[in-house]
Symmetry: C2
């Protein structure tokens, strides 16, 4: 059996309270007894039970992370960073992969709460607002990651999707593209990216054409499919902006299947700047987001809520950067040949 605080107390000839005090570095105890207790704890490999102390209202030092798909490299990367940073701070991570299924989202929140997580970081779009609202009402520690809820009063750290979409489009326009296709995803963030895209078109006096916009689930296969439709459509784009790298990689593949030369006949640019960008050929231009910094911010923010050191809510928005690689080029001029 694992030793309990009483075993230590008995061994040291003191009370459990005293042991508790040295564990938590609280109250005042003589250096001598303290040293003795510490030694005994070590000898017996004593580890306090997080459960028992949590039952007394203390933290479990466990947080729940809810993400849509950890197979998407952005999320696996993010998860990895969060886990590492969390561990540094003494927190363990309970994960849930939702596939954006609202039922799972709700189910997991209650499951995690039964396990008394100290807080949540949520990256999966909650279709089910009720759950979110309940959490907010209870003032339960919670931060949204790369996900916004404009209508909800809630902490979040996101990237400036509008700016990202804008920059991409502006860059493509500067290369002479006028028919710029868009592969989007059913997510708030993509909506913003599309808004940035539209604004850039507007500012450049280029007409917006709805038919150049295709939505797809974020899997390679579906992206290939949808991008195929876009490429086969009448309004042939000379450039395509994928609202995330998965979508962009799918686009790349669809183009290759059709013998379309990249970047000469078609420019493609993604979003997220995942490792996929470097392994496809040609290497994918993309938009980089400071994932590490974002994860850190999200954690710090969450912990400040858990510790109640910070009561005010905030939206932190990080700015994205263009990373130009090999899939973007000046528009292909038929007349030139």
């Amino acid at each position: 059996m694992k030793p309990t605080i009483y075993d230590i107390a008995r061994e040291a000839g003191v009370s459990a309270t005293t042991v508790s005090k040295v564990i938590n570095n609280k109250g005042r105890i003589s250096e001598k007894t303290k040293a003795k207790i510490v030694k005994i704890m070590e000898d017996l490999h004593y580890q306090p039970s997080v459960l028992a102390s949590a039952m007394k209202g203390k933290n479990t030092f466990t947080i729940g992370i809810i993400i849509p798909d950890m197979n998407n490299p952005v999320y696996s990367e993010y998860l990895k960073l969060i886990e590492a940073y969390g561990r540094e701070l003494g927190f363990s991570i309970l994960i849930c992969n939702t596939n954006n299924d609202p039922e799972k989202e709700e189910e997991q929140v209650t499951l995690f709460r039964q396990r008394q997580v100290d807080g949540f970081i949520i990256a999966s779009k909650f279709k089910n607002d009720e759950v979110l609202k309940e959490l907010i009402n209870e003032n339960f520690p919670l931060v949204l990651f790369a996900l916004e809820r404009p209508e909800l009063s809630i902490d979040c750290v996101t990237i400036d999707d509008f700016l990202g979409g804008y920059k991409v489009t502006e860059y493509l326009l500067s290369l002479g593209h006028r028919q710029i296709g868009l592969m989007t995803e059913d997510a708030e963030s993509s909506l913003e990216r599309v808004r940035g895209y539209k604004r850039a078109l507007l500012n450049a006096d280029v007409e917006y054409n709805e038919k150049l916009i295709y939505q797809s689930e974020t899997t390679i296969d579906r992206a290939v499919e949808q991008a195929g439709k876009l490429l086969d459509s009448k309004d042939k784009p000379t450039a395509i902006f994928g609202c995330n790298d998965v979508l962009a990689v799918g686009t790349l593949m669809a183009a290759k299947h059709r013998g379309i030369k990249i970047p000469n006949e078609l420019s493609v640019i993604g979003f997220d700047n995942t490792f996929m960008c470097k392994i496809v050929e040609p290497q994918l231009s993309s938009v980089s987001v400071p994932l590490g910094e974002m994860g850190r911010q999200a954690m710090d923010l969450l912990i400040s809520k858990i510790d109640k050191t910070n009561k005010s809510k905030q939206r932190i928005k990080m700015l994205p950067d263009l990373v130009i690689r090999e899939t973007t080029a000046r528009v292909y001029e038929k007349d030139a040949n």
Copy 2:
């Protein structure tokens, strides 16, 4: 505040014991009181505290997963599958990404145990055998995943790495290759794959050349680096077997940098059959492993240990399959040109 079992009891005009019994479906209670209690629990959104019941010696329904790198698509995929299956069975997943750092491994095991996980699934190679041995001695529920410890009496589910390595090499030999390079990783599984490779060479009467073997960390960048050395070496291989897809993709890239045509001038084959195989060009041949089935088996095995329904230890070994895509071809014959 969240309602407790006492709140329910009071509301229903019964004792906490009775409520506990309906929660756990134990003992005998009249349908009538049962119905009343159930209704009240629903009305109050009552969720029993896992912590409190765990304190009475019950399960936490939480298991710890320890993996080396969730950015490696094999692991993220596996993690995703495990999480889904675990949830189906009512278990939540605590994760830890170790980067194969023995300190983190040990640290996490104690951390997870403080949180009273019901068991572990470990995919990260434990350099620190002591921790593993301790767990085994205590008979703590534990299964190794895609990882073996031949010297330890421990449950595990792995793939037959030897067979995988053998098949790859056999296939490459059948294409006429004789100079077959190897990109390996510091892991038990890779050792087995190498053993398969050697055996295949032996069986085919092809001499084994140590200089064709390069070890690398499993990251794209390091793989590119190491593969570069292999490609630049005197013993120029006509084919390279990457002990995992990351290594193989790195090899592919290194070859491209050097203008080596694939598969005409160099065949490359990976291991794991991750989604990367399909997005690189040409598409990577690889070895598929039944990850889903393996995850399921690992979970089932672990749970049988937790429930103590199964005392006997076992090693489950799944068989891998070759998936031939576009990076493998008959050896390039200089004379033919």
